[in-house]
């Protein structure tokens, strides 16, 4: 009586065609409602319209390296000769041509320092010494005048080293200042609180461009004729002031997110104010503040391009100046695309790193 009982296992049935496979994926993700279907069709149509001409310009009808500019203009298509011809100027600006290995080494040093600081294994006291040593080397390389290097005035600096120096030095000086400002804003001492609030609100209340104008245009008018304060230094100070105010607000957000119990616990342990801040409050507050801080870092890195209005050649400035060479006019697509890629690489790495750091530092909070 067992011949009507099936032995062995039944072969697996294929799932219904409308739940798996590419067709199902399309139905579930792109055409699941009528408005999504409409959007899908619209976007697909736009991509079909935009991608082929873009690829054509970028690759298929692009002119190879070495094509003279007149030929490029007639052919249409991207003229990559512009980038190869102007590469050194865009990267290093008006730095003396034969000495341009110096800014190149500077870029390497700065990037190496930043990368080292990103790895938590290197978060040791000697990292500070590395920074001091590295920045000294950068100064020696850029200025020269010692060790047989010819002296190069900082008005000749430009390109990527200038962008990196303005942002890296700006952020590393502004960061400690912003912590003090954030603590000052939440201080019990009225004088310190009022000063911090005034500073932060004053700086945040004006656009960066007006601060730069103040530093570069107004400030020298108050000095006697002939007395000059270095232009680059004035811009750097304006950037530090600006970044400090914005980062202070990001950190204040972190400080306010710390539960009151943490402050009380620190008091109960008998820690004084600085001990409590350093050992209990700030490590948590800064971890919370990472997303807004990185947000500030990224926008600040891009804001350095505003120095163009005060006549400093940062990366964007050198690209624009390269376009003003009479023989190479009109290749602005190539120029802006090239520096756009450089900016993107830096900003995207910052953003990726911050996500990693956020995950690492939040481990203790995982439930």
């Amino acid at each position: 009586m067992t011949d009507n009982v099936h032995t062995g296992s039944i072969p697996d049935e294929r799932p219904p065609a409308n739940t798996v496979g590419p067709v199902a994926w399309l139905r579930n993700n792109l055409f699941n409602t009528w408005y999504n279907a409409l959007l899908t069709i619209l976007i697909a149509w736009l991509l079909v319209k935009a991608i082929p001409p873009l690829l054509d310009w970028l690759i298929f009808s692009a002119n190879s390296f070495g094509t003279p500019p007149q030929v490029c203009r007639q052919q249409g298509g991207a003229c990559w000769t512009f980038v190869s011809e102007k590469l050194r100027f865009v990267m290093f600006g008006t730095f003396p041509y034969d000495e341009q290995w110096r800014p190149l080494v500077t870029i390497v040093i700065i990037i190496a320092l930043v990368l080292m600081s990103c790895d938590r294994r290197f978060w040791k006291p000697w990292l500070g010494l590395m920074w001091v040593g590295g920045l000294t080397a950068v100064g020696v390389l850029m200025w020269g005048g010692v060790l047989g290097l010819t002296y190069v005035e900082n008005t000749l600096w430009g390109g990527l080293p200038l962008t990196l120096m303005l942002s890296v030095i700006g952020l590393s000086v502004a960061f400690p200042a912003s912590i003090l400002l954030a603590l000052g804003r939440r201080s019990q001492l009225p004088a310190i609180r009022v000063m911090s609030v005034t500073y932060i609100e004053l700086i945040r209340g004006v656009p960066l461009i007006s601060l730069l104008f103040m530093a570069s245009v107004m400030f020298p008018l108050f000095l006697p004729t002939g007395v000059n304060f270095d232009k680059l230094l004035r811009a750097q100070i304006a950037f530090i002031m600006f970044a400090a105010a914005y980062m202070a607000e990001a950190i204040r957000g972190g400080l306010q997110a710390i539960p009151k119990g943490q402050y009380e616990a620190a008091d109960a342990l008998g820690l004084n104010y600085w001990q409590a801040m350093r050992k209990i409050i700030l490590p948590q507050a800064l971890a919370i503040s990472i997303p807004p801080l990185v947000n500030t870092f990224i926008s600040f890195f891009k804001d350095t391009s505003l120095v163009i209005i005060i006549g400093l050649y940062d990366l964007l400035g050198t690209a624009k100046a390269a376009l003003s060479d009479p023989a190479w006019r009109g290749f602005y697509r190539e120029a802006y695309l090239f520096i756009g890629v450089i900016y993107w690489v830096f900003c995207y790495s910052m953003s990726k790193y911050s996500q990693k750091l956020e995950r690492d530092l939040r481990r203790g909070h995982r439930r």
Partner: protein, 340 residues
């Protein structure tokens, strides 16, 4: 005490005025420093722009070099400071630069309230119009109802409005912030007419247009834009040096002296040439310079025609005609005052 200081200051002023021959503060500072601080455009093709190796080139730039040669007989004794349009006047007022050679239009207010002294005009420019040949337009008077691409916030925009209003014509402005984008908009066909300074139009036509012959620059010039180097008030000797350096380059062209043949003129019997080249002394001393000042300038930088042709002339990508910038003897406006 205060009145004592005032009296001393007044005495110093009077004393300075009486002695007269004393060099002014800027000339002294420049000589002491050993180089000229020159403010130039951060990027204007043919007038001030760095080349691929980062060396400064351009017509305005060459006049910085000429002044350096007049003072130090060395065209490298210049520190170039690229200046934005907003920065240029504070930079010269505060002494950050000694000489502003940055395509600056001479106007009354700049001469007075901005406190500048303008050297002779090195480039006579004026606003013009460029149209596509297909439109068949021959004159700006036929532009009624046209769409005009113009850069925002410039005198160009105001001149355009004035011109159309005074000719009872209407137009649709397409106002764009950056010069590159104005050009791009015009070549993409967003407007019928492109307007900016005639030198800019010629440069755009020669250097940016996909097919230069498709575009034509109309004959009407609707504004005067004389571009000249400038120094700040308060040092007449320094002003004189800059002024006569420019005149020397123009005078050299009038006499046919170039950087290549200047040595042949040194033994010339012509008293005018002798005065300029310092063979018969006096001119250099009057300016407080070496007697060979003009010889050095011509030898190192060239005469006006050479400077023009090298930077913006027909052999350059900008392909500008001499036009108003021809010598007065050829129907232009370039006219040097007598060097004697």
């Amino acid at each position: 005490m205060k009145s004592g200081i005032l009296a001393a200051a007044a005495a110093a002023v009077v004393f300075g005025a009486v002695t007269g021959a004393q060099a002014g503060p800027t000339l002294d500072a420049v000589k002491g420093r050993g180089f000229v601080q020159c403010g130039v455009n951060a990027g204007l093709p043919g007038f001030g722009n760095p080349d691929s190796s980062g060396n400064w080139t351009g017509l305005d730039v060459d006049y910085c070099r000429a002044v350096a040669v007049a003072l130090f007989n060395d065209p490298t004794k210049v520190k170039f400071t690229p200046l934005s349009a907003q920065q240029r006047f504070p930079a010269i007022q505060s002494g950050e630069v000694d000489l502003l050679s940055r395509n600056t239009t001479v106007t009354l207010t700049r001469d007075t309230s901005v406190g500048l002294n303008f050297a002779p005009v090195t480039y006579y420019d004026g606003q013009g119009f460029m149209v596509n040949k297909k439109l068949g337009v021959k004159s700006a008077k036929e532009l009624n109802g046209a769409t005009v691409c113009v850069q925002a916030g410039t005198t160009t925009e105001l001149n355009l409005a004035d011109y159309f209003r005074s000719n009872n014509m209407s137009y649709n402005p397409v106002v764009i912030e950056s010069n590159d984008e104005v050009n791009a908009a015009y070549f993409a066909g967003r407007c019928d007419v492109l307007t900016t300074d005639a030198s800019g139009l010629a440069g755009t036509r020669a250097g940016v247009a996909p097919v230069p012959d498709d575009h034509v620059i109309l004959p009407e010039i609707i504004s005067k834009e004389p571009l000249a180097p400038a120094v700040r008030h308060g040092d007449d000797q320094w002003f004189d040096v800059v002024k006569w350096t420019v005149y020397a380059t123009i005078q050299a062209e009038e006499m046919g002296i170039t950087s290549k043949n200047v040595d042949e003129f040194v033994n010339s019997k012509n008293p005018e040439i002798q005065r300029i080249l310092g063979t018969s002394p006096g001119m250099g001393k009057a300016l407080g310079l070496d007697e060979k000042w003009a010889y050095n300038v011509i030898k190192a930088v060239g005469n006006y025609g050479e400077i023009f042709e090298r930077n913006v002339g027909l052999k350059t990508p900008l392909k500008l005609e001499r036009g108003l910038n021809a010598l007065w003897t050829n129907g232009g406006l370039q006219y040097a005052m007598p060097i004697r």
